[in-house]
């Protein structure tokens, strides 16, 4: 087993990608390692003709993924929007892995992201010694993706200052990156495209200019529709993370996951699952990703400090931490939920007691 904490998608699922490429007879857009159909199968899962089982990477609407793939096939930029924890980055990583076989051309958007990190920077020692030259240039992941004809990814696009964002306009529309210092340019090779992700809640941080917006196709990743879908997402991710972390604990019981997911969904939706009682919603987003980390930390607690089986006690601390983001407001919400819902529910007594102690 590899010593790395987390493998890139193209390494972790290398076997699946190879199988898909072998079986894939449909036309591939130039620069793509797989045909759009095969990419869809890679993301959504399925069984190939030779019996290879492709694990689903994204559980949810097939249409969303199809739109995303079709967008990339038309060489338009893809903008994935959604609440935190709706698998935006996850989908973009796997799309890049399946299409280009390389998900590492990544720019993390922050308030401090500068134009150099999107275009190119300079090795100042060489710049001073030799003057501007191709050798003195430090290419950004985006520039490398253009040169190699691969998918580049920009995470949290709306966190990047507006004037820096607009650097992307030329790249997206002309598919070139001018280098005035050398009086040259980098022209994108076929296969290049850009996947950006942005957070719904952050829309106001640095809203996209309409010129930039126009160059993206927007796909909204929804929260999971049904509780079963969400339980299945949590279960799969926990299993794969648990394997990576080599936790000695047993896989958590489905009922325990379902309970945590229920708590998350109820608090997020502002009403109980049966639709009978209204609830206050806490300030956090309570995304599926957070549910995954609650189960994971519960699992770790059970493995290292408990008997290896995840119980209410192990889940409780993570649960409380995930719900209570604001120490005053959210604590009230949580107390109310505990007393009115958790306490009364059949078979939830252990969870109630465990949460009370935290």
């Amino acid at each position: 087993m590899s010593q790395r904490l987390r493998e890139h998608a193209e390494h972790q699922y290398a076997e699946e990608l190879r199988a898909l490429a072998r079986q894939d007879t449909r036309p591939r857009p130039s620069g793509w390692l797989l045909s759009p159909w095969a990419v869809a199968t890679y993301i959504l899962g399925g069984t190939l003709d030779d019996g290879t089982v492709i694990e689903p990477k994204y559980i949810g609407s097939r249409r969303v993924i199809e739109i995303a793939i079709a967008t990339l096939a038309t060489d338009r930029g893809l903008l994935l929007i959604g609440l935190p924890g709706t698998a935006k980055s996850w989908v973009s990583e796997h799309l890049a892995a399946a299409i280009s076989g390389d998900s590492t051309m990544l720019i993390q958007g922050t308030a401090g992201t500068s134009e150099e990190s999107i275009r190119y920077g300079w090795n100042y020692a060489r710049l001073l010694a030799d003057g501007p030259s191709a050798a003195a240039m430090v290419a950004s992941p985006l520039m490398r993706a253009m040169q190699d004809g691969k998918i580049a990814r920009v995470e949290e696009l709306t966190r990047i200052p507006a004037e820096v964002q607009d650097t992307l306009i030329t790249i997206l529309s002309e598919k070139t990156l001018p280098i005035p210092e050398l009086n040259s340019e980098v022209q994108a090779v076929k296969g290049f495209n850009l996947i950006a992700t942005a957070n719904d809640r952050d829309r106001g941080v640095n809203d996209l200019s309409s010129a930039l917006k126009r160059r993206f196709n927007t796909v909204v990743l929804p929260l999971p529709d049904t509780i079963d879908e969400e339980v299945s997402i949590v279960q799969r991710r926990v299993a794969s993370l648990g394997a990576a972390l080599e936790l000695p604990a047993e896989a958590p019981a489905l009922s325990e996951i379902r309970r945590i997911v229920t708590v998350f969904r109820e608090l997020r939706g502002g009403q109980t699952a049966d639709g009978k009682t209204k609830l206050k919603s806490p300030s956090g987003t309570l995304s599926t990703a957070e549910a995954i980390s609650v189960v994971n930390s519960g699992l770790a607690l059970a493995a290292h400090f408990g008997d290896g089986v995840m119980r209410a006690d192990d889940a409780a601390s993570g649960l409380v931490g995930a719900v209570i983001k604001d120490p005053v407001q959210d604590r009230l919400v949580w107390q109310e939920y505990l007393e009115t819902v958790v306490k009364e529910r059949d078979g939830w007594k252990d969870l109630y007691r465990a949460c009370r102690e935290h």
Binding site: W37, E66, I67, A73, T74, R76, I81, K213, N217, T218
Partner: protein, 775 residues
Amino acid sequence: MSSHHIFGIRHHGPGSARSLRKALEDLAPDAVLVEGPPDAEPVLPLLAHPEMRPPVALLVYAADQPRDAVFYPFATFSPEWQAISYGLGRGLPVRMMDLPQWHQLGQNKDQADGAELEDSDPQPSALSPQPSQDPMGWLAQAAGFSDGERWWEQMVEQRRDSADIFAAILEAMAALRAESPPPEPSEARREAWMRKTIRTALGEGFTRVAVVCGAWHGPALIDLGDRKGDAALLKGLPKTKTAATWAPWTYGRLSYASGYGAGISSPGWYDHLWAHEEQVTVRWMTRVARLLRGQDLDGSAAHAIEAVRLAESLAALRGHPLPGLDELNEASRAVFCFGGDAPMRLIHDQLIVGERMGAVPDETPSVPLQQDLQREQRRLRLAPEATWRDIDLDLRKPFDLERSHLLRRLGLLGIAWGQLQSGGGTGTFREVWRIEWRPDLAVALIEAGIWGNTLRDAARARALDAAERAADLPDLVGIVNQVLLADLPDAVPALMAWLQERSARTADVAQLMDALVREDRLTRSSLVASLRYGGVRNTDTAAIAQVVDGIVLRVCIGLPGACSSLNDDAAGAMFGRVVAVAAALRLLQQPEHLEAWHQSLLRVADLGAVHGLVGGRCCRLLLDAGAIDAEEAARRVGLAISQATAPAHAAAWVEGLLKDSGAIVLHDDLLWGILDGWVASLTPDLFLQTLPLIRRTFATFAPAERRQMGERARRGAASGPASPRADDDDIDAARAEAVLPLVGRLLGFIEGGRFIEGGRFIEGGHKARPDTLIH
């Protein structure tokens, strides 16, 4: 040799219609039979009239019971429409071959069940869990599609040309029907009638008969042999006299969302498919872009280009030859709408469903009431339109007044063409109506035909009928108000007699009070308002005055009894009524009313068992009206809040006295003086005891008011703000009148030719609002 040719179609399918048109041209039949009601044959030729614009619906109704009606909606892309217009255009005999409604509507009556009406709708495409009802669903499932609509669209609607398609459909349906249980009796009868009609046509010597029917019926019409069996099926059917006509329809009503829907969710899209054989996707995206641009949203040609590319690659990804509506919508959402829903709703309403409304020629037979309405609409220049618009009526103008009457008469008949909008200002001479003509109003209009042949007669008859069945007094008053505002004076005497009788028999004073003042939802007017402002609307007020007199008298007599022994809720309601009646009587300004009212209030105030809330307000009303003086009022305040009174009662009393009048306490010297004097007279101990009771009321005043009260109390009674309550004698009548002409012109009075009564402002200084001046 078979000399009839069966064309199984999907109702309202543009692809079907196109294939059918082509197949008919190839076949060149000498007669056309269409699945539809034979009742409609007399009005069928109108279809070719140049003024006939689909979408329209054939309406077949029982002549003596217009409520019993069936609609057959058609759009230009309906295959039936195309078949009929093909036949009419070439002068061929066109016949309807479905089981006539004169038999079916009869059945409905026998079963006394509205559900049958749904069945008689000739739409096998309306999805149903029963496999026999949804043949396409089964075929689609077999082909791996999620639902029948999609499958049919892929396989048939999006095909451009192929006459073989009808042979294939017939074969598929035959296979499907072989697997299905035998048709229901009603279904079997319909098919028997179709066969009978085909036999008749062949018997008349036509050699190439085109038979256009829903795909499902096709296989049943191939073999015409069983003459006897059909005759047995059709024996002894009940019979009713029916009439048929055309009614305008809208795309909105063709869609799933509405009652008589034809079961297609996207008429606008089908229209688009029908209108444009080529460049469907490009034209559609261009329309989306133009629509969004029109609404000041981003929608450039560049957007349209990208949306077309995305839609096409999505279709390719899914293995479809052309993008369907799903692909187009997903592309629009990703490219134009940035993933948002709001612009998509706009696209859905305006493009996918569409707002097109049909029109029928003037020669279309109509029921007499319809004709009367059309005359009125022309005379008053109110055209029926599918989209809503607001009209602003100035009731001082005779023309606008008549428009208001028309809308209100329609309202009485249950035809809600216009909705009275709120916020038309305080004046009652102005009304804002939102009018929107929906095709179901045509249905309601035909239904209303049973009440009379003109709007006026029908509205009167309907109102009298409703009044007779009115449950209680306020309901009756509501009807009276509607009748008064709809200018139906012939109905007034009878209504007033009933009102008089009902109010005489009513023991419930609360109901009587409601009858006086409650504004009903439809007219936003009360009996008192009708009496007071009747002049503006030219209503005859003498009869109302008589009834109001009677009611006021009964209220005044019954009020003390009605106010005793109330619990908190009942007292709250009574408080509201007392306030409303007091305001109404102030408005009427009838000395005899006011005198009786004040006497009555005094008796209530003196009542031992009265709830504090009501008692306090009575005292206040008496004080305001000058029926008791300040000293008497102060005595009553002291009495009500004395130590022996139960605290809850005392608190309620203060609340009744002062509720909602923080500003008045502040500015009314008289009231202020009474309160101030009373508080000052309390000993420190007593003050402490009383404080919580008073605080309960004062806490409801706005903080700013409370602060001002505190400041004023600190300054002492003498230095209060200048009193706005000037004595009547202080008014210099000559100077006041000098401004009246200008005020009159500002308020639009001079035009109305009326002037403020007596040339004097109405009493009460600050209480006179502009609207009291106007009327």
